[in-house]
């Protein structure tokens, strides 16, 4: 059966919902999500969303743009970054107008606080001189993502958006550079459905579940990027994966940078504030890639603390902030420390270690969220992407904290607007009644397979090995080892079987398909990392420790091949006003 909508949005996190709100009511719009919308991963974002509102001190969008470019280690496209930082101010005001509850300052304006990598020039007349931290992050205690997601979900309800919750998208229908729709199945009964659409927007989130220690939800399996990659379309800059420095030890649960924004300090086993050695001007508020490398370096040099699980951690000390600040501004994350580690953050430091957090790379798009067909900048007609699954590229080689929530609302809206414009002249493409055959065969095969491999073992091996060999630090030897492992896992995946043969709410079936998506994302990440012989932002090659602007000021575009390594092509970085400089803090 074919269902027909003017627009189909896949994913109901911040980007998908913001796009849905933007679609004019005269067009039919369906949002398909494998979880209920308020379960989406946007809800776990904690610390804030940056915009140069100047509510606490003077600031400008240009300051924000410079920080984002520098934070990206000069790989971010500066035209996209300008669009985002300029529009940030309007976007945050708009969220407030939609009803999002914010913490406020003493004038009743949205309150703002410090965040890693967000600075301004100490002397306004010397814009490229010494920079000092600036209060730019708008927040709602430490539940900013949670209330943002709810506000957007509730505005979608107000706009009478049609939701297909707990539907899992398994196929993207693209032919000759034109998108025709998607195929999905209803998880509740495994019934397959073709969705014909004039426009499709992917807002499917990240793929942190490729790694063992991650802050990402179990749902973070890169489904959208995998479907795009399978359809022969490129994935951009997948080698850049951010490790957040402060994951709760063992579990990887995020402890927001807001903890350091409020004055929290990182300490090694000797009680030393070690960030003073790595980033003397901003110390604990250095960007995430630098702090994560500093932590791993401390641990490697014997200044970490050995945990009962055999892994090492360092300490995040909030005790000097006082109970009042902790309870008022950081209630959620301090609650995690109490619940999961039995640590009382008002009197004891919190054990932390880096955790796989955010994909800077993804589905390449232009600033109107149109998906790119190739490295030349041609677009796929009717296909859009926004949010973590997309790569515009505003985050380049390393994302600054708070810019993910900003990315969602700015580019979610732009995607919605671009689609509304496109729909004025767009028509449906013919779609075969048999377009769902591939998905039907996939489900039947998985339900009847008698293979001797199980998803859980392949997934665990993938996660352990990616963490080890494609994590914070990388080297040719480790990456080569991982490539052999990945190719082995891909082979073994062909022989997978599941125990649950039922067509009712079969989560084992969903997980088996998700594992294939993880393998695809891992492939693009791993080969990208092997290919890029330099260190830039979150991609740190021990055998190539320097940034190489001569050869590598370019984005990688990975195209899937029938087997083995993807073909990698390149697209130049867009530079508007900021020439690459050495990145020091």
């Amino acid at each position: 059966m074919i269902k027909t909508y003017d627009v189909v949005i896949v994913g109901a996190g911040g980007a998908g919902l913001r796009a849905a709100v933007e679609i004019p009511k005269e067009y039919s719009c369906a949002v398909i999500s494998k979880v209920y919308p308020p379960r989406s991963h946007t809800g776990t974002a904690q610390g804030g969303v940056c915009a140069a509102l100047s509510n606490m001190e003077e600031d400008s969008w240009e300051n924000h743009a410079f920080d984002t470019v520098k934070g990206s280690d000069y790989l971010g496209d500066q035209d996209s970054i300008e669009v985002m930082c300029r529009d940030a101010i309007r976007a945050i005001i708009e969220l407030e107008h939609m009803g999002m509850p914010f913490s406020r300052n003493d004038k009743g304006l949205i309150a703002q606080r410090f965040f890693g990598g967000h600075t301004k020039p100490e002397d306004k007349n010397d814009p490229y001189g010494k920079r000092v931290p600036v209060k730019r992050s708008c927040y709602s205690a430490d539940r900013t993502g949670h209330v943002m997601l709810q506000t957007l979900f509730e505005n979608s309800i107000k706009n009478q958006v049609t939701f297909y919750s707990e539907y899992f998208v398994t196929d993207l229908l693209v032919e000759n550079g034109v998108c025709k729709g998607v195929v999905a199945f209803d998880i509740a009964n495994s019934e397959v459905q073709i969705f014909q659409a004039k426009a499709v927007l992917f807002a499917t989130g990240g793929y942190g579940r490729v790694f063992r220690i991650t802050s990402n939800a179990h749902a973070g399996t890169g489904d959208g990027s995998s479907l795009v990659y399978n359809a022969g379309l490129p994935l951009e800059d997948m080698e850049f994966f951010q490790f957040h420095p402060t994951g709760l030890w063992k579990l990887g649960i995020l402890v927001s940078e807001a903890a350091r924004g409020e004055g929290g300090i990182l300490k090694n086993k000797d009680g030393e504030r070690f960030m003073a050695r790595y980033a003397p001007s901003v110390m604990d508020l250095a960007p995430r890639d630098m702090v994560s490398r500093a932590i791993i370096t401390e641990i490697r040099e014997g200044r970490g603390i050995r945990g009962s699980d055999g892994t090492d951690y360092v300490l995040l000390d909030l005790t000097h902030l006082g109970k009042e600040v902790i309870d008022e501004k950081l209630p959620e994350i301090t609650g995690f420390a109490r619940t999961y580690l039995g640590v009382e953050p008002t009197t004891e430091p919190i054990p932390i270690q880096p955790t796989a957090h955010y994909a800077m790379g993804g589905i390449p798009t232009n600033t109107d969220c149109e998906v790119l067909l190739n490295e030349k900048g041609d677009t796929v007609k009717g296909l859009y992407a926004a949010g973590e699954c997309a790569c515009v590229s505003v985050h380049g080689a390393n994302r600054l904290g708070t810019n993910s929530l900003l990315d969602l609302v700015v580019f979610g809206r732009r995607g919605g607007k671009a689609i509304a414009e496109f729909l004025k002249t767009a028509a449906f493409s013919d779609i075969s009644e048999k377009a769902d055959e591939k998905t039907r065969e996939l489900i039947d095969r998985l339900l009847t397979s008698a293979g001797n491999e199980r998803a859980v073992s392949i997934r665990t091996e993938l996660q352990n090995n990616m963490m080890e060999d494609c994590g914070v630090f990388r080297s040719e030897a480790g990456l080569k080892k991982m490539i052999v492992k990945l190719e082995e896992l891909k082979e073994r995946y062909k022989n997978i079987s599941i125990q649950d043969k039922s067509r009712v709410f079969n989560t084992e079936l969903v997980e088996a398909i998700e594992l294939n998506n993880l393998l695809n994302n891992a492939e693009a990440t791993l080969y990208g990392a092997y290919n890029r012989t330099e260190s830039r932002g979150a991609h740190s090659r021990e055998d190539y420790p320097k940034r190489d602007d001569q050869d590598w000021m370019k984005h990688s575009f990975a195209f899937k091949k029938d087997s083995g390594a993807p073909e990698i092509k390149y697209k130049p970085v867009v530079i508007t006003r900021y020439q690459p400089m050495e990145r020091k803090y």
């Binding site: 308020p38 914010f102 709602s140 539940r143 749902a219 995690f336």
Partner: protein, 236 residues
């Protein structure tokens, strides 16, 4: 250590009735979440065991279930906080139809939430170039109710829900409180009218089960009582 569990199973394709299945799970540690145990069972004992989960740290609200008779999030409950010397009994959230094993049909829960108009209602246009003014004190009055993760632990723990499936329930009322008390909102009366109906707020008999069930430790009954006060004063 090893632990014993009894888990309610139901697959409508083959079972006429739900039934309990026993599991003896080996080599767990008391710092495990109950969710980790469920994953261990699904991964290494029985791949057919079915439950929802996503964020695994108490934010997304997917894995509400009944554990030893009380509604809990499996990801926010550690084994050290359960008596593991006795068999742990796990059932789906009560009062909602079971789809399979621990997965219940949430559609009626979300319908009730939509009924109270969970969005800002306002006739006054906002200032064009900046935010509406709201004091931090007024903003913080909303934070407790806005913490709600829509897990349905409260609504399904309420005896009024058990006896009347149309009862709007604590989660929807808590959301109504969040908007009615927002200084930016002008839809308070509309929502109070919705609450002041036979299946509405007066079905709450302050039994306090909702408070005990809430994984975010929200004092839901207090919020409902504030709404009742508003309604009473409106009638006079």
């Amino acid at each position: 250590m090893d632990i014993q569990l009894k888990i309610l199973r139901f697959n409508p394709e083959k079972d006429k009735q739900p039934y309990f299945q026993d599991f003896n799970v080996k080599n767990v540690s008391d710092d495990w979440r109950l969710l980790d145990v469920l994953h261990e069972i699904k991964g290494n004992y029985d791949g057919t065991l079915t439950f929802r989960r996503s964020c695994a740290h108490g934010i997304c609200g997917s894995d509400g279930m009944k554990v030893n008779g009380k509604n809990k999030l499996a990801c926010a409950l550690l084994l050290k906080d359960i008596n593991t010397k006795k068999t742990i009994v796990i059932e789906p959230l009560p009062a909602l139809p079971i789809i399979k094993d621990l997965v219940v049909d949430m559609s009626s829960f979300f319908m009730k939430y939509e009924v109270i108009k969970p969005y800002l209602i306002t006739n006054t246009p906002p200032p064009p170039n900046h935010e509406r003014i709201q004091s931090n004190e007024d903003a913080e009055k909303l934070f407790e109710s806005a913490k709600c993760i829509l897990c349905a632990c409260c609504t399904t723990s309420c005896p009024s829900t058990w006896t009347n499936e149309n009862y709007i329930g604590p989660a929807a009322m808590l959301r109504a409180y969040r908007y009615i008390n927002d200084t930016r909102d002008e839809g308070g009366d509309e929502r109070l009218d919705i609450l002041d109906t036979p299946d509405g707020i007066w079905r709450c008999h302050t039994i306090f089960n909702c408070i005990e069930a809430c994984p975010k430790e929200i004092n839901i009954t207090w919020h409902i009582s504030q709404l009742k006060k508003k309604l009473s004063s409106r009638e006079m």
